[in-house]
Amino acid sequence: MHEATIAQLSQALQDRRVSSRELTEHFLSRIARLDADLNAFITVTQDEALSQADAADARLATSKATPLTGIPIAHKDIFCTEGVKTSCGSRMLDNFISPYDATAVAKLKQAGAIMLGKTNMDEFAMGSSNETSYYGPVHNPWDRDRVPGGSSGGSAAAVAARLVCGATGTDTGGSIRQPAALTGVTGVKPTYGRVSRYGMVAFASSLDQAGTLTRTAEDAALMLQIMSGNDERDSTALPEPVPDFSKALGSPWENITLGVPDNFFDDGLDSDNAQTVRDALSVFEGLGATIKDIHLENVHLSVPAYYVVAPAEASSNLSRFDGVRFGYRAEGIEDLTEFYMRTRGEGFGAEVKRRILTGTYVLSAGYYDAYYLQAQKVRQLISQDFARAFESVDLIAGPTTPTPAFGINQKTGDPIQMYLNDIYTIGANLAGLPALSMPCGLVDSLPVGLQLIGPHLSEDRLLKAAHYFQKETDWHTLVPPGYAN
C-alpha cells in the first residue's frame, strides 16, 4: 500500500478497494517499525488517527468525500493542532498542547485527511539539517549517517521512507525544498500568502509559507487544493481565487521557456549536482521547452539579506515565549529579570539564541538603517530581478541545493557553511514567489533536487511542469534502500 501515491490511494479508497482504517493501520505499523532509526516523528497520534479513519470510511460511503478523505498524512510540528502537543522542535514548547487548529490543519481535517502525527523539525524552523531539534536529529532514509535537510526534515524523511503519504511543511528560506531535494521527494512552497499562516508558529512572518512534501507533483496538487485560499484570520493571506490544480496538471503540454540563471551554477555548486540538473533540463527540452540563459543581478546578496530580515522578525516573534502564559518556565525564580533570563536561556537552543541575538542587534538603534533597512532594499532589488526575468521566461530552473545530503555533525560547527545550503532557495522567499523541488537524479546514491521557481500565483504552471517531468522520468519513484517493504 505504501508504494502508492495519494492519487492512487484516493482512487482505491473511493472504489472501496481499501479502507482508510486499513491504510492508517498500515502506515502506523510502518512508523512503529521504522521510525526508531529515523526519528522523523515527535508525536504519533495513533488513537485519534484510527478514529478519524473510521469516520473517513463512513464518509467515503456517502457522496461527501474529497480526494483526501481517508488519506494518512503528517503535520510538521510547527502547525498548531488542537489537543495535540505542538513543540516546534523546542524545549520551550515541549509541554504545549495547542487549544486550536491552524487554518491549514483545519482545512485538511475537514477534507477528511487522517493525521498520523507531528513531524520533527529544526527548533522553531531554524536550521538546514534538522540537527537543532530538541528531540534530536532526523536521519536521512537514503543514508542514516546523513541529514535529511531542514527545517522540515521530519516531514521529508517520513514521506521518503513511505511512513506517510504526504506531509505539510513550512518554507522560510528553503525549509521545504532543501529537505525535499536531500530526501528525493517533491516539495512545494507556494506563493507567499497562498496558504494561511494562522496557527503556524511564526519564525519570520514576511517569509514563512506553508506547503507540502509528497512523492509527486500530482499529490502536491491534491493537498494544496485543500490548503490554499484566503483566511480572514491572516491579513497577509491572498484573496485571489484558487485555480483547480489537478485540472491544470491534466491540461495538454504547452511549450514554455525555462530561464536558467548562470549565477545558480557557481563555484559553490557540486559539479556532479550541476551535471544532474543539466540532464534534467534536457528532459524539458525533449518535451519541447526552450532553455534560456538568464542572469539574476542581485541574487548573490540573498543569503546576507535573508540573515538580517529573518532573524530580525524572529527576534520579535519569539518574544512571546516568556514562560508567563504557556510553555517552559524555569523553576525557583527570585525576580522578573531572572525569570526571563532563565526561562528563555533554558528553553531555547543555541541556534535559536544565535538568531535572536542577531535579530536584536540589527534592529537596535544605530544599526537599523545599516542592516535592516539595507536588507529590505536588497530584498526589493532581488524581487525586481525576478520580475524582470519573468518578462521573458515562464519559469526559472536550477539546482535546489549545492550538494546532496551531508553528514550528521558535518556542518554544525560552521553556521556560515550551514547557511549557504539555502543559497539557491532563499531568493524565492525574499521575492514571495512559488517554487518547488523535485528529484532529478542520484549522485553517489543520494538524491539531487531540481528547483523550479515561478512568478506570483503560478502554482498551476509550476505543478504542471513538474507533473510532465515526472511523467517522463522515474526519479520520484525511487525508494530509499531498505524502505521498499
Binding site: Y100, A202, S235, S316, S319, R320, D322, V324
Partner: protein, 481 residues
C-alpha cells in the same frame, strides 16, 4: 529669573469600538479578569492580528476634526519590550507613518483668549494588560482583559505654556473625542489619560530646555498639579545651578510631588520595525469624504453659534457646549419656549440643573427634569409668575417629583405664585422696617448696601413670593421718607 514653561502632551484616548483593535474580544470595562482575552490577546503561538476597521474610521474622524492630514498609507510597527502584561513581548503601534498628522486645535483660555495648539500626530496602538500586585501573596497577577484595547495616542506640539493651558487643552481634546463619539473619555476607567513633557527656559530663548516626562496622569486636576509642581522643581534645580535630567517621572498625588522613574540612560531600545503580520493601511479618498460627511457639529462651531444665535457670552457658551448632550438639552429647552430669553434658560441649566446633577451624580442625558420643563419654568420667571428665588424651590420639587412633576401644579401646591399685590408687600416692608431699627439707621446714614439685607428678610418671610423689584422700590421709598 523670568522662566518660560514649554509643555507638550501625549494623550491616550481609548477608542469606543465594540471589539479590540486586532481581535474579536469585547472591550467592556470591569469584567472578571481574563474573561475578555482570546488566543490572539494572549499572544498564543501561531495567532495573527487582524485590524479593526472601526478603529481606523475613528482615528480618521479625529484627524478630520483637528485639520490633520489623513495618511493615505500608514504602517503598524512593533515596539519591542518585555513585561509580563505585554503578551507578545511587543506592542503593535504606529511609528514612522501614523494615520493622521500635522493638525491643530483651538483652545479658549480663561480671559476668553483663543490659542491655537499644534497637533503633531495621532496614531493607533493597542493597550497592554494590567499587572496586579496585591492579594497574590508575594506573586503578581496578570489581567489581560485590557490587552489589545484600541488607543489613539494624540501628540501635541510643545505649544502649551502653563499648567492651566495644558489642563485646558486636555479638556478641549476630551470634549472633542466625546463629541465625535470615538471615546467615552472615562478617566476613572483609564479611557483617557496623558503623559506630559515639561521643560523650562529663560524667556526669550528659542532653544528648548531639557525635558522630563510625567507619566500616566489620569485626571485634569492631576495634570495641572503635576505640571505645576514639576515646573517649580525644575526652576529650583536650575536656580541652584543644577541640571535638569532627561527622565521619566511619576506624580505622587498624596505628596504632591514628582519622583524619577527611570532615566534616559536606562531607557529601553524599543527596536521598532514594521509589523510583517499587518498590511499597510491604505485609506481611499472616498472613505475620508464619507467620514467627513458624518462628522457632528464640533464644539468650537457650536460655541460660536451659541454666542451668535442665542446672545450668550463666550464663557456661558463654552459651558453649555462642554458636552454634546448639554448643548442638545439647552437647544431643546429653547425651542420649546421660543418667546423666552435663551439666557434665562441657560441660567437655569447652569445653576439649578447643574447643581442637582452634580449632587446626584447624574449625567444631563439622565436628568430627572426634562428640557421642556426647564423651558416652562423659565417662562414662569419671565412672565413674573414666580420670582427667581421661588423658581429654585419649584425646581427642587420638580427634581424630586421626576417625570410626574408639573410646573403649574407645583407653583399652585406650594403657593409660590409671586405676590404683586402692593398692599401685601407694603405690610411686609413696614414690618421689616419696624423689626430692624439698627439696619434702618445705618441705611439712613448712607450705608446703602444694607438694603440687600432688608430685601432678603422680606423675601424670606414671603418664602420668595414677593416680587423683589417691587420690594426694593417700596423699601427705598419708605426709608427715604
Amino acid at each position: 529669573m523670568d522662566w518660560e514653561t514649554v509643555i507638550g502632551l501625549e494623550i491616550h484616548a481609548q477608542l469606543a469600538t465594540a471589539s479590540k483593535i486586532f481581535s474579536g474580544s469585547a472591550t467592556r470595562y470591569g469584567a472578571e479578569p481574563n474573561t475578555q482575552a482570546n488566543l490572539v490577546d494572549l499572544g498564543y503561538p501561531g495567532v495573527l492580528p487582524v485590524l479593526n476597521r472601526d478603529a481606523v474610521c475613528m482615528a480618521i474622524k479625529f484627524g478630520l476634526a483637528t485639520d490633520c492630514e489623513i495618511s493615505h498609507r500608514s504602517v503598524f510597527a512593533r515596539k519591542n519590550y518585555f513585561y509580563p502584561d505585554l503578551p507578545k513581548g511587543y506592542q503593535i503601534s504606529q511609528y514612522e507613518l501614523p494615520i493622521v498628522k500635522g493638525g491643530h486645535l483651538d483652545i479658549v483660555l480663561e480671559e476668553g483668549e483663543v490659542k491655537r495648539i499644534g497637533i503633531t500626530r495621532a496614531h493607533l496602538e493597542e493597550d497592554a494588560g494590567k499587572s496586579l500586585h496585591e492579594n497574590f501573596h508575594g506573586l503578581s497577577g496578570i489581567d489581560l482583559n485590557r490587552a489589545g484595547t484600541p488607543l489613539l495616542e494624540i501628540v501635541s506640539e510643545p505649544d502649551l505654556r502653563s499648567a492651566e493651558e495644558a489642563g485646558t487643552y486636555m479638556r478641549t481634546i476630551h470634549t472633542l473625542v466625546r463629541y465625535l463619539g470615538i471615546s467615552d473619555g472615562n478617566m476613572q476607567e483609564g479611557s483617557f489619560r496623558c503623559d506630559a513633557n515639561v521643560s523650562i527656559r529663560i524667556r526669550g530663548q528659542t532653544k528648548l530646555g531639557t525635558r522630563t516626562e510625567l507619566k500616566n496622569l489620569n485626571s485634569f486636576r492631576f495634570v495641572e498639579k503635576a505640571i505645576q509642581v514639576e515646573i517649580e522643581r525644575q526652576i529650583e534645580v536650575l536656580e541652584d545651578d543644577g541640571e535638569v535630567i532627561q527622565e521619566t517621572r511619576l506624580y505622587d498625588a498624596d505628596k504632591n510631588d514628582t519622583r524619577a522613574m527611570r532615566s534616559k540612560e536606562e531607557a529601553n531600545d524599543y527596536r521598532y520595525f514594521p509589523d510583517p503580520d499587518l498590511l499597510p493601511v491604505i485609506i481611499e479618498e472616498g472613505l475620508i469624504e464619507r467620514l467627513r460627511s458624518e462628522l457632528p457639529e464640533l464644539p468650537e462651531a457650536k460655541r460660536k453659534r451659541f454666542v451668535n444665535e442665542y446672545g450668550l457670552s463666550e464663557a456661558v457658551a463654552a459651558e453649555l457646549t462642554a458636552t454634546r448632550e448639554t448643548g442638545d438639552y439647552f437647544e431643546q429647552a429653547v425651542s420649546s419656549q421660543p418667546n423666552v430669553s435663551p439666557k434665562r434658560i441657560a441660567n437655569l441649566i447652569q445653576r439649578e440643573l447643574t447643581a442637582a446633577l452634580n449632587r446626584d451624580g447624574l449625567k444631563i442625558e439622565n436628568s430627572r427634569v426634562t428640557p421642556e420643563t426647564i423651558g416652562e419654568l423659565a417662562a414662569k420667571i419671565e412672565d413674573d409668575t414666580v420670582s427667581s428665588s421661588a423658581a429654585n424651590i419649584v425646581f427642587d420639587d420638580l427634581w424630586h417629583a421626576g417625570d410626574s412633576g408639573n410646573v403649574d401644579s407645583v407653583i399652585e401646591k406650594r403657593g409660590l405664585k409671586q405676590i404683586t399685590d402692593i398692599s401685601a408687600i407694603e405690610t411686609m416692608v413696614d414690618e421689616v422696617i419696624a423689626g430692624n431699627p439698627d439696619q434702618v439707621e445705618q441705611f439712613r446714614r448712607g450705608k446703602e448696601k444694607v438694603i440687600g439685607f432688608l430685601v432678603g428678610q422680606i423675601m424670606k418671610t414671603s418664602q420668595g413670593k414677593a416680587n423683589p423689584q417691587q420690594v426694593n422700590e417700596l423699601l427705598r421709598k419708605k426709608l427715604r421718607d
